[in-house]
Symmetry: C2
Subunit: 216 residues, 2 copies
């Protein structure tokens, strides 16, 4: 095993270090965030930083930079207080990656990548038609992370659109059956293969595999 | 496709809703966080909320509740300002899940689950010997998320211990080759299968598959 210490990290060339550090947090979720600006131009951008914050209230967050390529997403969310999160699947992972290109404000990533906007009455942000599990959120808070000048954008889930068969008896959603992909590092995409669900862990006995429906 | 609206969400039974909402953010990283208290008792707890925040400075965060089962982790980090993050792999995913049981403060999850603490000189938190990619962090900040009374704990990476062969020419770490697993929902564990790495996306041309070493 290689031990990279603080000094090695200080002396590491920048692009190399960026790849290394981006690999450390493990597999990351791959999601497209859909927004719309005041002029009605849709925006779509891939994020690997979407994170579950809690079920009650149903809160999800993501990390963004104020001045990065994804700034359109942030600007639009500030304007409309609304965004959608759409899980990326094997049918459009390359198109999803392409949304990270630096398109201009008046260019729409849907047009550029061939993905289809799905507009739902009462929701001021576009979903991605091709995604099999997606949801709309209302902006709750933008928390500055001053250590590196990033922001955590937090939304409350208002609507969920999901393939019905993927929702199991106990509420677990089989995102593997929806071919949801994940990211490692900056640019590697992966599919999944289930080992098992496991029973709730208790101190006095070992947890055991349970069925996809949550049954022992 | 099923459309679950705000009203449906309000009326959803609690355990069912917890499963649903936990499935929405996509695949989550599976990591064991190692800490040590003042008395020298090691603690180990699984977290699916570890998130990359930035490469320079090298910052990683995770979400915790002040009063949850993982409170020992938080208390220990406050005491020593140090923690380790260890990617879970296929060799110990069940033992890793077992660390989520509510053991007492004076019970050590290493003893209870059979995992092996690895102590490194100068680092006041234990690594997990069985993990093939792990790193130590120095506490930087604890940011309260008042919306749901959670906390984001942010650390700066000081040391990385990683299987040498997994680090590719451009710094990308092939965590798939290290059999790193991921989580969906609350309790489902998965392995990965790479689709491909993709080239950096530019507006004027489609990104294309690149080799594991980052070469076109």
């Amino acid at each position: 095993m290689q031990h990279i210490n603080q000094n090695d990290l200080l002396n590491m060339a920048q692009p190399f270090k960026t790849q290394v550090i981006n690999s450390l947090s493990g597999f990351k979720s791959a999601n497209l965030i859909g927004t719309c600006n005041k002029k009605g131009i849709n925006n779509l951008a891939i994020f690997s930083s979407v994170i579950h914050l809690g079920a009650s209230p149903a809160l999800v967050g993501f990390i963004t930079r104020p001045t990065s390529v994804e700034r359109h997403t942030l600007e639009n969310i500030k304007q409309t207080k609304t965004f959608t999160i759409n899980q990326v699947n094997t049918n459009f992972w390359q198109a999803a990656h392409q949304t990270s290109a630096r398109y201009d404000t008046d260019e729409c990533e849907f047009d550029k990548t061939g993905l289809t906007p799905l507009i739902v009455d009462g929701i001021d942000a576009p979903f991605v038609q091709e995604s099999m599990i997606k949801y709309a959120l209302q902006l709750q808070e933008i928390i500055p992370i001053e250590l590196n000048n990033t922001l955590m954008v937090i939304g409350k889930i208002t609507d969920i659109i999901c393939d019905e068969q993927a929702i199991k008896n106990d509420g677990y959603i089989d995102i593997e059956s929806l071919n949801t992909v994940m990211v490692s590092g900056l640019d590697s995409y992966h599919t999944s293969k289930r080992l098992s669900r496991l029973s709730y862990a208790k101190p006095d006995k070992e947890s055991v595999p349970i069925s996809i429906n949550g049954a022992l």
